[in-house]
Subunit: 294 residues, 2 copies
């Protein structure tokens, strides 16, 4: 199966899992559950779930378990988008061409739906259906909480909000990205190994892979913002420069950033070279994303 076909197949499988795991809207509180579904079934790339499935596959972890972890990470990722889009944060009216959750519903419902998706992520991981071992389930919860918490994704979001007021150099930009997007990429890859109770060496290899992939992905995103047009990008561009935010593109220049992204893509592949053919799609993924990103 080509990488693109594998991404599509995983996305369809994940959507069936999410449909089974998200509550069916009912009763006087149905509105928040409708908003949860609206937000999560919005046609995302499902990149983090794909990483869970591919990395779990390296160790032959049962797919139904990996799909539950993939659903949890997507629920958490979706909550972060719902809250980021709020007027008090990025104030976005559209995401992937349709109204953001607070525009389709209202702000209060969007805040609650985000809270509920975050909570659901942990409920899914802690359920015995995710893994027969309580130790493994508790470890997944602990790792996701650290990745998503104030030292991880939320800390990165806080740095990002404050970035226009800071004179960030490359070290700070890399720290920001590693928290904001890197931490969830790391969890996605590591969780596959946690599910299989793999050893420290596997854990370290997947962490290295995730770190390089995440930063390459972020540089690709920044390149779109710096050089793309809104039509092909599918979103507003030029926001970083308008807000005075330092990025690796503003620091390295467009060509320098492209070179750095390619270097990271290659190094990500080296990190998983030990898995041979089983890691072929993981090796191809960073290049695929950079090419799609332009």
């Amino acid at each position: 199966m080509t990488l693109e076909a594998a991404l599509k197949a995983a996305s369809a499988e994940l959507d069936r899992t999410l449909d089974a795991l998200l509550p069916q809207p009912a009763g006087f509180h149905a509105r928040v559950q409708e908003a949860m579904r609206y937000a999560i079934f919005a046609g995302g790339k499902r990149l983090r779930p794909f990483l869970v499935l591919e990395c779990a596959g390296l160790f032959d972890a049962p797919r139904e378990r990996a799909l539950r972890v993939a659903a949890a990470i997507e629920a958490l990722h979706t909550y972060s988008l719902v809250h980021d889009d709020l007027p008090a944060m990025d104030d976005d009216d559209l995401r992937r061409g349709r109204p953001t959750t607070h525009k389709r519903f209202d702000e209060a419902t969007a805040i609650l739906a985000g809270d509920a998706l975050l909570t659901l992520a942990f409920e899914i991981l802690a359920d015995p259906a995710t893994h027969p071992s309580g130790e493994v389930r508790a470890r997944l919860v602990a790792e996701l909480a650290r990745a998503g918490g104030s030292e991880g994704m939320i800390g990165g979001q806080m740095m990002d909000i404050d970035a226009p007021n800071q004179a960030h150099g490359a070290d700070e930009v890399i720290e920001l990205q590693r928290r904001k997007t890197g931490a969830l990429f790391e969890f996605s890859c590591r969780s596959g190994a946690v599910l299989a109770e793999a050893g420290d060496r596997d854990m370290a290899a997947l962490t290295d892979y995730a770190r390089d992939l995440g930063l390459a992905f972020q540089i690709g995103d920044d390149l779109i913002d710096a050089t793309g047009d809104a039509g092909t990008a599918g979103k507003a561009v030029g926001k970083d420069e308008a807000q005075g935010k330092a990025t690796l593109v503003s620091l390295y220049g467009v060509e320098g950033a492209r070179r750095e992204a390619r270097r990271l893509a290659a190094r990500a592949g080296e990190a998983v070279a030990t898995y041979g053919e089983a890691a072929a799609r993981l090796t191809a993924l960073p290049y695929f994303l950079l090419d799609r990103q332009g």
Copy 2:
């Protein structure tokens, strides 16, 4: 120790635990961690933590474990207050006489601080320091996620926001309160038994106790809103009637509601009568709260 002294002692102990468990603000993302601390060290009653400690005490569960669970429930409760106070929700400028988190910081920081407190609650529960058994830790996570999720507290909050548009009768008001405040009371009491790996009969007794206590507490709160003055209540009153929300006070009348609260307080005590003297403070608690609430 009197009930009041026990409440104070537990509150001081909890604050030391929270101080150790909350991240020390540092780095470019310090602001969100400052907001987490501002929100949680606001002088609350620490009622839910007290329930954890008292119920864990019935089974002689180690106090340092119970304190971690107590800290987790308080982190989750605090996040719900921070988000409820936001302009898009209840739009409150003051809580316990000082600026709400979004007034002291800003809306974006308050949203992120709430998200981070919710995430931290699960991180605390999943940590091996909470209990040596992964099964117990995963069960605590699962129970808290259900209590705080879209079928529990968040569902109740959604019902509450929508309440002025609904002609709720007593059944719906009770359902709303059971979700909005009752679910966390239930978790607080049950978690003490979960920590001690107690049996189904204990779990059922504490669930019954928590349910009656929670509803009695809520009626007390509604009585303040209906009959209190802002000075002694320490907050705005008359909000339910102004918003056209049905409460058990509007449905039963003031005297009827008082009688119902006393009946629930007595029944709560019966639920834990089997524990004898060890449950003396739990038995006294609902009356204590009703008397303080006026």
